[in-house]
């Protein structure tokens, strides 16, 4: 008959549910079963020392996630039924959502697959299960995003051809090459890149101010999936921190490898986030927080607290983080100036900020903004008024590593362009910064493979050697690109507003 059961606490129960499941294979060698988790040089002596970050069993996962999904889809259904796209602050805002769909959503899918590779690839059961949860979460994110954006796609341009352009458009090579760099690396580098460097260190800069900004701009669809996804992200962040501690505790020889990865992935992630900062600063008509302020809160405060904590393992803050901090006054403006000039070759619209917005930038960014960027905007606004809206005729030269157009300036001179060159096997490769050059020089064999869209275009590999042919190849029509004021989105939005009796927006 039943004796009184022993009491098991959460940790013990989770261990029993997960750990004992795997075994040391003998009919096939462990190295054949797990062929990929040694070649990077990370030494793991004892996988049992892995600390499980969040102790979710499968049934608890189903329960919590189903509850989140029920809430999320109820809101998405209501959003569509009530035509809540009418409640956003301004149609310019939609361009931030377009960047998300074109650049971020495909990465969520790729992350699903990448973490499935880890969920199969690590020989420790604890690590494997944690990665499996992250994998299926990432699948959730791409699907909820597509379902949320589906409604916007019915009305706004820039969503419909995302699957076509995500691999081919020059500006979407920025996020794409970032993730492909991680997933083509070994499993420990992949998890360091994504779970730690991106999710733990940098993702707060993406989700917190931006999603809060979406809420402020009346976009309940993005707000809802964004915050709902973020509750999964906090599990992933915790996984990221655990991975770093685990590698460093297992073998002291792991430290230099991990440090090099942190240096690389901090810089790679930071460059990518420049795009997000630009969304935040320029594409949210109602502002929550500037990039500068977000950088101070989430990097200078939180990031530093994290690296103070990790100092006990001998880890130092990533190389060139001081450069990133110096750039906080300019990076989003340099980015916007570039997109503004090249937006006729994107599935986005751009514009000159309104007077009110320019004043907000002055307040947030001070003298540098007033002396460098404001005059530029005033000049372009003047051209626009004369009917000579400024677009570059040629495609930009992009960095061989981060794939961002080479517009960044010298760390100590915001007026001096920075372009560094490495030569590898007789070919010259251009980089935007010392951070990117270091990455190239460490693995030239990898980065010389990069698919560089402007080069491909000029070689005629993208539908033809002209911009028009290229756009056709991307399935982007003229009316889906370029200047926002006067665009299809703008006209539709003004039509909706006129019918609801609100005043029209005029360009700056």
């Amino acid at each position: 008959m039943a004796a009184k059961p022993r009491r098991l606490n959460l940790t013990q129960k989770y261990q029993l549910m997960t750990r004992g499941l795997d075994w040391e294979t003998t009919y096939q060698s462990m190295d054949d079963v797990f062929p990929y988790d040694k070649y990077e040089g990370i030494k793991i002596k004892d996988w049992d020392k892995w600390q499980d970050p969040f102790r979710l069993t499968m049934d608890a996962y189903w329960k919590y996630q189903a509850e989140k999904e029920r809430k999320l889809y109820a809101i998405l259904d209501g959003f569509a039924q009530n035509n809540s796209q009418l409640n956003i602050s301004d149609a310019r805002y939609m361009n931030a959502v377009k960047i998300w769909m074109q650049g971020v959503t495909p990465l969520e899918y790729a992350a699903f697959r990448g973490f499935a590779m880890l969920g199969r690839g690590f020989r420790g059961a604890g690590a494997r299960v944690a990665c499996q949860f992250q994998s299926i979460d990432e699948m959730r994110h791409y699907q909820t995003q597509m379902h949320a954006f589906s409604h916007y796609n019915k009305y706004f341009n820039g969503f419909r051809q995302f699957a076509r352009i995500r691999d081919r458009a020059w500006y979407l090579s920025i996020p794409k090459s970032y993730f492909e760099d991680a997933v083509t690396a070994g499993p420990f580098e992949l998890i360091t890149a994504i779970s730690f460097s991106f999710e733990y260190v940098l993702t707060n800069l993406l989700f917190m101010p931006f999603v809060s900004g979406a809420a402020y701009n009346g976009d309940m669809a993005t707000t809802t999936f964004g915050f709902s996804a973020q509750s999964d992200e906090s599990r992933h962040m915790t996984l990221g921190l655990e991975v770093i501690k685990f590698m460093l505790e297992q073998d002291e020889g792991n430290l230099p490898i991990v440090q090099q990865w942190l240096d690389k992935w901090f810089w790679r992630g930071y460059r990518l986030l420049g795009l997000v900062g630009t969304m935040m600063d320029y594409m949210l008509p109602k502002k929550v927080m500037s990039w500068r302020q977000a950088w101070e809160i989430y990097w200078e405060e939180s990031g530093m607290a994290l690296f103070n904590d990790l100092a006990r393992y001998g880890l130092r803050p990533p190389k060139y983080h001081e450069v990133a901090t110096k750039e906080k006054y300019r990076i989003t403006h340099e980015f916007w100036c570039t997109i503004y000039q090249f937006s006729h070759a994107t599935a986005l619209y751009t514009w000159i900020p309104t007077e009110e917005e320019l004043d907000w930038f002055s307040a947030e960014y001070g003298e540098l903004f007033d002396t460098v960027y404001r005059p530029r905007y005033e000049y372009w606004a003047e051209l626009d008024r004369k009917g000579e809206r400024f677009f570059q005729k040629r495609l930009p030269v992009v960095c061989n590593v981060c794939q961002i157009p080479i517009f960044h300036t010298m760390p100590d001179d915001p007026l001096m362009n920075c372009c560094l060159v490495s030569e590898y096997k007789g070919t010259k490769h251009q980089m935007c910064s010392q951070g990117c050059k270091d990455i190239f020089d460490h693995e030239p064999e990898k980065y010389c493979q990069a698919y560089i869209p402007p080069q491909q275009i000029y070689q005629g590999n993208c539908g033809g050697a002209t911009l028009e042919a290229y756009k056709e190849w991307l399935h982007i029509k003229d009316e889906e690109t370029g200047e926002y004021y006067g665009s299809e989105d703008h006209i539709m939005w003004e039509g909706w507003k006129a019918q609801s009796g609100k005043p029209a927006d005029a360009p700056a």
Binding site: N9, L10, T11, P53, F54, R55, L56, A60, Y64, E67, K68, T203, N204, F207, M208, P209, V211, S212, G213, A215, Y216, T223, F227, Q230, S231, E233, S234, R235, M237, T238, L241, V288, M289, E301, S302, M304, A305, L306, N308, D309, R312
Partner: protein, 90 residues
């Protein structure tokens, strides 16, 4: 620098008892409101106690239920059946 840990929760009715419990159990905690979100900073260590949340709810609370409202966090996590702790080991 204060070496803050933080937790961010969705600003909805489910999160309110948790926020109240945090404020009660962590006198140094600072609550920052943003659209849709509440971020709570606290120097070095922040604790969420199951019992305190249960008092606020007037019913049972499983600490894993935090997942339903959690947005983000910073700090090393220590979690058992009674407490959810975020801390920097500095």
């Amino acid at each position: 620098m204060a070496d803050n840990v933080f937790i961010a929760l969705q600003n909805n009715p489910d999160a309110q008892p948790i926020i109240q419990a945090i404020v009660e159990d962590n006198p140094a905690a600072v609550v920052n409101d943003s659209p849709g979100m509440v971020k709570i900073d606290c120097p070095k260590r922040l604790v969420i106690r199951r019992e305190t949340v249960e008092e606020k709810i007037g019913g049972e609370f499983n600490l894993q239920d935090i997942h339903l409202t959690l947005i983000s966090l910073a700090g090393n996590i220590e979690e058992d059946d009674d407490e959810f702790v975020l801390q920097w080991n500095i």
